[in-house]
Amino acid sequence: MADREPGAFDLLVERYQERAYRIAWSIVRDREDAKDCAQEAFIRLHEAAGSFAGQSKFSTWFYRILVNCCLDNRRRGRGWRRLLGWRDAADDEREDDPIERHPAPMEDPGERVDEDRQLSRLWAAVDALSPRQRAVVLLQCREGLATKEIAEVLEMSEPTVRVHLHRAFTTLRKRVGTTP
């Protein structure tokens, strides 16, 4: 890609960098790891640009590369956690992993208004979801992807995405209530 159009890759990075970082952060929940994953995704994209056959939307293809980078990162991290004696999350379905409970690095709402407190609770609840459920929720609600696109990105079937979505929203509902 860069060999043929030197400016195209830079343009693409500028266009996707924020989304890439945001999605990466939603999965790995660490600023530096998220940056690394987003950068690695761009590098893999650069290397694999010729293999994009256009069967899916470019963004879907790129998100899939990105999510794979993030899951690779998590697998490596899990190895370290196991080595350090932490209880392993075993799988993305479990929600009691201490890593998953790590609070989002957002500002303490403190004395803020109710809306801020509710949002804070909502994000904390999202943080506590498994990475896969979190990815499904955020890809849908923040990135606006349809269920079919999420299925392509995460390489799972549409019914599986629906199950993840339903479980995630049921959990969120329990934790934050239903106040609109």
């Binding site: 990075v13 924020e18 970082y21 600023r31 940056k35 949002l119 994000w123 609600c141 339903h166 609109p180």
Partner: protein, 174 residues
């Protein structure tokens, strides 16, 4: 949950796709019919859509990043990666011609020594032509940088000359 439609069980996993308009017409109609008669599913859908709406409107919670630095780091990583690959490729591509060049140079040298291995000693026209051809070929292949020296390879008959080859005058004034 209470009050399911007689036709389908609670379509809990299809509520959000229904709300997003992603279901096929028949499936959407079935969910709509169920919602008409099921207060629990209506409450669930209302709660889910409220949460989805809040998530959509909420400010971005990701920690800030300096995008200039992000791109600079990416560029460095990319250059490092492509540079490593290029050097590995050039080593692979470069090693073969170098080996071929060395082999060919040795062959040229060997063949050019008159009287060796049944090759004419270079005194006759055929021998002279072969030596010149070899040398010319070698020069074309950039194997020999000082053609003058090589063209006078008949001197190599003399072991004294061979012994001081490194001191041989490039212009052939040995």
């Amino acid at each position: 949950m209470t009050g399911p439609s007689p036709s389908i069980p609670h379509p809990v996993e299809r509520l959000l796709p229904y709300w997003r308009g992603e279901l096929a017409a028949a499936e959407a109609a079935a969910v709509a019919a169920h919602l008409e008669s099921c207060a629990d599913c209506r409450a669930t859908l209302a709660a889910f859509t409220a949460i989805a709406g809040r998530l959509e409107r909420a400010p971005d919670p990701t920690p800030p990043v300096h995008w200039g630095a992000f791109r600079a780091e990416l560029r460095e990583a990319l250059e490092a990666r492509t540079g490593r690959r290029r050097s590995a490729r050039s080593w692979r591509l470069g090693a073969l011609p170098a080996a071929l060049a060395a082999g060919l140079a040795a062959l040229v040298l060997y063949l050019a020594i008159p009287g060796q291995n049944g090759v004419p000693n270079g005194r006759g026209p055929a021998g002279e032509n072969a030596a010149v051809d070899n040398a010319a070929l070698a020069s074309q292949l950039d194997l020999i940088t000082d053609l003058d020296v090589v063209q006078r390879l008949d001197l190599l008959e003399d072991f004294d000359v061979i012994g001081r080859l490194d001191r041989l005058e490039p212009t052939g004034k040995s």
